[in-house]
């Protein structure tokens, strides 16, 4: 080989080597956690596995939440020798059925809504929950929750994971104290309070249902909360299962009661505009006028805690004596049954194996719930959960509500309805309703969009 040819080779090889070295610098080689430096007493029941088996989990949880999720099973991995690989993508809900059909679904799926779960279970993609998981769920969860992991054929497939409570009403404690307002104990009292605040010269409510192509969903939460409280859990169940039509009088009543607030120009939209501004305001910004007292109350789920921010970027304290706090939307009658709507994930397996069973039982245990909640930001309806571990006052309150035996818990109705309604015509219906269509027209249109079969 001549020198010239050598040169021709040397340059690309050198370039490749430099590239390789540079790329190596980008990677972080993290030393794996070993069993020696972990207290494994809590994990003895799951056994130890030889040969480092891997279990893949898929879900919609991303970013910080995903990091915390992975951290929540770090000790479990070290003690059992199982490697858990989590992949989070926003497209999970759209893709999972396709993946399952092609036989390439992850071992375990964290399914964010019962409607999707039922679809997967009915299609025969899911594996029934192992005995250990069912025992855990019987022990730590209420019958309501177990019901959501049970398919229409009566087989129990999925354990609940985390939970959230909807139907909070955010307010400014300082303003309520100054003006002498009391936290209402019934829906009627809340309307009286609304009228009183309006009479005192403040716009009582601020709301926003804008959310990109999901615009409308915060409005469905309002309606669901009212159906559950006014018509009761039984009617609510019938409604989401379509055993009563969507244009049933009970639903019309709920819509109209919400309309008494949201469609009354005197009561909305504090600091944001008129009724039509509800649609154009992003749900994340809709509560912010509470901070400068240009609006008194804002209805949104517990997760809204993370959305509070002052205009100058400073922190907002969320506490009973802080800048903002929340009370749960009251029952229809004072002292009546406490009913809440909420959300949560269901964990089910697409494949079978001892290591998958071990991961599933760990995720359904009180140990996991405590580990995860301690990391902050979320709660679970697991009754073995120590409420004091929750990272904020509002989350502690939510845990207590979820663990209370007298609480009637119902999943967010739009998650339970078929996609054509729950994630399409119900949202569009809310938008049209707030744009001025009357209730009967809107509920009739949603009813006619309910898929036949």
């Amino acid at each position: 080989m001549s020198v010239k040819q050598h040169r021709r080779l040397i340059v690309p090889v050198a370039a490749a080597a430099v590239m390789g070295l540079a790329l190596t610098g980008c990677t972080g080689d993290i030393a794996a956690q070993t069993a020696e430096d972990t207290d494994c007493a809590a994990y003895a029941d799951y056994g130890t596995f030889e040969g480092n088996p891997e279990v893949s989990i898929g879900g919609t949880i991303q970013d910080v939440e995903a990091d915390r999720l992975v951290e929540s099973w770090a000790d479990f991995q070290a003690c059992t020798g199982i490697t858990v690989n989590y992949t989070g993508t926003k497209e999970f809900e759209a893709q999972i059925a396709v993946l399952a059909e092609g036989g390439s679904a992850p071992d375990i799926g964290i399914i964010p809504q019962p409607g999707l779960f039922n679809k997967l279970a009915d299609a025969g993609f899911l594996k029934p929950a192992p005995e250990a998981v069912e025992a855990n769920v019987d022990k730590w969860w209420s019958a309501d929750w177990k019901g959501y992991g049970t398919a229409t054929d009566g087989t129990f497939y999925a354990a609940p994971l985390m939970a959230s409570v909807k139907g909070y009403v955010w307010y400014s404690p300082a303003m309520f104290e100054d003006k002498g307002y009391e936290i209402p104990t019934s829906l009627d009292e809340m309307m009286d309070l609304t009228a009183q605040i309006a009479a005192d010269g403040t716009v009582p409510w601020c709301a926003g249902v804008g959310s990109g192509d999901a615009t409308g969903w915060p409005g469905t939460d309002w309606v669901e909360d009212y159906v559950l409280r006014q018509a009761g859990a039984e009617t609510y169940d019938k409604w989401v299962k379509h055993e009563i039509p969507f244009n049933d009088p009970a639903i019309v009543t709920a819509f109209n009661s919400v309309g008494d607030i949201l469609k009354n120009p005197e009561y909305v939209n504090g600091g944001l505009g008129d009724v039509s501004s509800i649609i154009s305001t992003e749900f994340g910004d809709a509560g912010l006028p509470v901070l400068d007292d240009s609006c008194a109350m804002h209805h949104q789920a517990s997760f809204y805690e993370g959305f509070w921010k002052n205009a100058d970027g400073s922190e907002v304290s969320v506490a009973p004596d802080g800048d903002v706090y929340a009370f749960l939307l009251p029952p229809a009658e004072a002292g009546g049954e406490q009913a809440v709507t909420g959300g949560g994930e269901l964990v089910s397996a697409f494949n079978e194996g001892d290591e998958i069973t071990a991961v599933l039982s760990y995720l359904s245990s009180d140990t996991w719930a405590n580990n995860r909640v301690e990391l902050g930001g979320v709660i679970s309806a697991n009754t073995g959960l120590d409420a004091s571990l929750a990272s904020s006052d509002i989350l502690k309150q939510s845990v207590e509500i979820l663990q209370d035996e007298n609480t009637v818990f119902r999943f967010d109705g739009s998650d339970l309805m078929p996609g054509a309604v729950g994630t399409d015509s119900f949202w569009k219906g809310i938008v049209n309703w707030l744009s001025g269509d009357d209730t009967q027209k809107v509920v009739d249109a949603i009813e006619s969009s309910w898929p036949k079969s």
């Binding site: 390789g20 790329l23 190596t24 980008c26 990677t27 972080g28 080689d29 993290i30 759209a94 679809k119 009915d122 299609a123 990109g212 192509d213 999901a214 615009t215 409308g216 944001l272 505009g273 008129d274 039509s276 501004s277 649609i279 154009s280 078929p418 996609g419 054509a420 994630t423 399409d424 015509s425 569009k428 938008v431 744009s435 249109a445 006619s448 969009s449 898929p451 036949k452 079969s453």
Partner: protein, 323 residues
């Protein structure tokens, strides 16, 4: 990502490249060894085969499956023409079809007219290059980007707040009340159409400008000597001379308009009576989980595009015959 992962990925890439060249090499080798008789046909078959396989997998099979899906419900059961009945009876779905018609009529006509007029006016002017670049620039912006830009233009803040939307700010300067542009039907559909015209005019202008320059000067001079005025020259000499290009422009823009999705989705997500077929197709198939309805909409879209494509091909073919 660890070093091992990275190395694994590099090895995968190298392996894939190697496999690719191996297959190509094998194909070439086999063609070379093909029997002498009918070697041309063998070669033809071998070279076409990869493309045909890809077409079958990527186009023919999906088209076939979509057609089947259009006649089934979300759980895959056969429901006959129910999805099509839904499409032509549901008020919301009818609005979608109506909007698509408005789009496909207004956008090609307006963008071609504006583009052609602009091309005529700036033809042979000083600084033609810069005038062209100005109008052509929006073509370089993605539909989603354009949608976001224009959503800001139409943005609404209630009366006492400072406006951040240009259109409402202009209204306020002239003493008007701000308007919820994107929520007011039917004007919102036309405001979305403006965005599409803004993008497509550049395309029409460039093609028309090139075609105008292709019209022989002899013909124009001859017409001039016959005592025609500029308008007559335009309608009787230039227009017939650029007919082919005009058809290409109009059909291309029509097809792009029928498929419009990004603008509607980013600006209104199909709310407030602005939805079009492509947006509804996505919403039904992927958000609502009603693949059947989505597939039915896709088929209608395909049937609507088909005549335009056929017309386009026919005109091109006629022209080739003339030449």
């Amino acid at each position: 990502m660890t070093t091992a992962d990275l190395l694994g990925k590099i090895i995968q890439v190298v392996a894939a490249l190697a496999a690719f060249s191996l297959v190509i090499g094998l194909v070439l080798f086999l063609i070379d060894k093909a029997p002498k008789r009918g070697r041309d046909y063998w070669q033809l078959a071998f070279f076409l085969l990869p493309a045909l396989i890809l077409l079958a997998v990527g186009l023919i099979y999906p088209a076939f499956r979509t057609s089947l899906l259009a006649f089934s419900n979300s759980s895959g059961e056969w429901v006959g023409a129910e999805n099509f009945i839904w499409m032509f009876t549901q008020p919301a779905a009818l609005v979608t079809l109506g909007n698509t018609v408005i789009w496909v009529v207004v956008v090609p006509i307006l963008s071609t007219t504006i583009g052609l007029a602009y091309a005529m006016f700036i033809d042979k002017s000083r600084g033609e290059k810069y005038f062209k670049a100005l109008v052509f620039m929006p073509m370089a912006i993605s539909f989603v980007g354009a949608g976001i830009i224009w959503r800001f233009v139409y943005d609404y803040k209630s009366g006492d707040n400072a406006q951040i939307g240009l259109l409402n700010q202009i209204l306020v300067w002239f003493g008007g009340e701000p308007v919820q542009w994107l929520q007011t039907s039917p004007i919102n559909t036309f405001l979305l159409i403006v965005v599409m015209i803004w993008i497509q005019t550049g395309f029409a202008m460039v093609i028309c400008s090139a075609a105008i320059k292709g019209v022989p000067t002899e013909q124009i001079e001859a017409a001039q000597l016959d005592g025609t005025n500029p308008w007559q020259r335009f309608t009787n000499v230039t227009l017939p001379g650029i007919r082919g290009s005009l058809v290409v422009v109009i059909t291309t823009i029509s097809i792009a308009t029928l498929k419009v999705f990004d603008i509607v989705r980013t600006m209104t997500a199909g709310n407030f009576n602005t939805s079009v077929i492509a947006n509804e197709m996505y919403t039904q198939a992927f958000r609502a989980g009603e693949q059947g309805r989505g597939a039915a909409l896709a088929i209608v879209l395909f049937l609507l595009v088909l005549p335009i494509v056929i017309y386009n091909v026919r005109v091109l073919r006629q022209q080739r015959e003339i030449r």
